[in-house]
Amino acid sequence: MIPDTYYLALSAVLFTLGIVGVVIRRNPLVIFMSIELALNAANLALVAFGQRSGTPQGQMLVLFVMAVAAAEVAVGLAIIVAIFRVRHRLSIDDLSLMRW
């Protein structure tokens, strides 16, 4: 039986890598995939906490996170494709229209 602290530590490392990926990459698709990485790390932490408490809440939360992530990916990719259709370039540094 693995102590859940190990799962939480792995989740922390993966979450950090996902956030760093969001910051250092310039391709919006890779940034989006890094967000998915961070989401998965959070899922792992939820499952580890659910295992510690012995209740099904963690499992249920992960199921709903998966459904929301599916919707989020569909909409996000559609937005990226729409931006590419207008701009014909795909670098995150060009997208400063809505920045103050």
Partner: protein
């Protein structure tokens, strides 16, 4: 024995996450992410959550990553990140900030692990699914509304303007 398996799977997870971060080609990144999602599914299986593991493989590694690969093939990126980075100094800040974030998360994990652990009651697949269709019925139904809204939104976004 279980610890060795955990360490191997954790190594695959961290290595594939690093691959996603460091490879320039987004297709390689997507395949690394598939490996990462698969290793997390293996961890769910080790913890005894079979349904989550299969849902992870089908929904994440299957459906979502196929969507990503389609988007990558449609957009044909890959040369955007080859040129010199105009904001290199700012992006290098990611290393110290990432280390700070990791230290903070590690502090939380260490602080929480000191708490006494109650004996976990076994919650198998049938019992947890019974909870899904009783206590969590309303969120379950709302999820279908959310997916429908996402589908309509994507159709609107993808519609070609005349």
């Amino acid at each position: 024995m279980a610890l060795i398996a955990f360490l191997i799977i954790a190594g695959i997870a961290v290595g594939s996450a690093l691959g996603l971060l460091l490879r320039r080609n987004p297709i390689h990144g997507a395949l690394f992410l598939v490996a990462n999602l698969g290793s997390i599914a293996a961890l769910y299986l080790m913890m005894g959550y079979e349904f989550l593991a299969f849902a992870q493989v089908i929904v994440y590694a299957g459906a979502i990553m196929v969507l990503f690969l389609f988007a990558i093939f449609v957009l044909i990126p890959g040369k955007e990140e080859t040129g010199p980075d105009p904001r290199r100094a700012w992006r290098l800040l990611a290393a110290p900030l990432g280390i700070i974030l990791l230290v903070e998360l590690a502090l939380v994990v260490v602080a929480r692990s000191a708490a006494p652990v109650p004996p976990p009651s076994p919650m198998g697949f049938p019992a947890s699914m019974a909870v899904l269709f009783t206590d969590y019925l309303l969120p379950f139904e709302l999820t279908s509304v959310l997916l429908l809204a996402a589908m309509i939104g994507v159709l609107l976004l993808a519609r070609r303007r005349a």
